[in-house]
């Protein structure tokens, strides 16, 4: 399963938030609302992007169907999906640390020859 996980990385920002939203089973509309909240409004998720991402994630086995309610289909994260999400979070963590350590621009150090 390791190779599969590496293949799925890095996730696009939208996909990372979709996986994060699917830690509990949800349908498309719920996912859109959750992504808006989770990202504090920084990630806009259009329906075309969401539909394509759900189809691709299901095919990759990172999410699975979890029932229907009328026309709406529910999904939830699978084990490999959780691993991929954790790995992506790790990558964001590395970035964040690097960003914090980087000297602020103009505050000395940034302009070495």
């Amino acid at each position: 399963m390791n190779t599969d996980i590496r293949k799925a990385l890095p996730l696009t920002e939208s996909t990372a938030y979709i996986l994060l939203a699917l830690r509990e089973a949800a349908h498309g509309y719920r996912i859109m609302q959750a992504v808006e909240t989770l990202s504090a409004g920084t990630v806009e998720l259009g329906p075309g992007t969401l539909y394509g991402a759900l189809a691709a994630l299901e095919e990759q086995g990172l999410i699975e169907a979890a029932g229907r309610e009328g026309r709406r289909k529910y999904y939830r994260l699978t084990e490999p999906g959780m691993e991929v999400l954790a790995a992506q979070a790790g990558r964001y963590g590395v970035f964040l640390e690097a960003w914090k350590r980087a000297p602020a621009r103009g505050a000395g150090g940034g302009d070495d020859e």
């Binding site: 806009e44 259009g46 075309g48 992007t49 539909y51 394509g52 026309r71 709406r72 289909k73």
Partner: protein, 182 residues
């Protein structure tokens, strides 16, 4: 109710121009009702408004209940479908159905798949007609018909080839993270 019909040629790489055109028509008070072969656009008079029109490419067989539910829940109304293109409208201006480059590129990859599927038949047509022209059947009526056919087949081949190239380039640029627009 007065309907207005318009004829317009639409090629696969002009989806964004088509969206702007429909938004412009709506802003002038003409709301799209449907599109039919070979490019007849039917409008009805409506209050002039600034709204969004967006085209997705999904041949009907791929258009399932969930697809419609997700677009509907996001506030998009499906207006009609024509040649695999899904016409959507949203009551607010400036809305998007694709919100990142990779997913937008995937839409153009689907269009490319269709163009790839028709390319062999286009090449066959070109070969057959050019051979007939070269072998030169010189009975007067027939040669005129053949010339017309030749021009049509060549024009059709050129349109498919140009569409393929333009859409391929756009998909590649989107995949490289460089959205350039129409």
């Amino acid at each position: 109710m007065s309907d207005r019909k318009m004829f317009r040629l639409f090629f696969a790489w002009q989806d964004e121009a088509e969206e702007r055109w429909l938004e412009g028509m709506r802003a002038k008070g003409f709301e799209l009702i449907d599109v039919s072969f070979p490019g007849i656009y039917r409008f009805r008079e409506a209050e002039a408004r600034k709204v969004s029109y967006r085209l997705d490419y999904f041949p009907d067989k791929d258009r399932d209940e969930e697809y419609r539910a997700i677009f509907g829940d996001a506030g998009w109304r499906s207006v009609c479908a024509y040649n695999g293109w899904q016409y959507f409208t949203h009551p607010e201006a400036g809305r998007e159905i694709y919100t990142d480059c990779p997913s937008k590129a995937a839409k153009y990859r689907r269009v490319l798949r269709l163009l790839t599927a028709v390319l062999p038949s286009q090449i066959m047509g070109l070969l057959v007609v050019s051979r007939a022209v070269r072998d030169g059947d010189i009975r007067p009526g027939l040669s005129v018909a053949l010339a017309v056919l030749f021009v049509l087949v060549v024009a059709s081949f050129i349109m498919v080839a140009v569409s393929f190239f333009k859409i391929w380039r756009r998909a590649s640029e989107l995949e490289a993270g460089r959205p350039t627009g129409a």
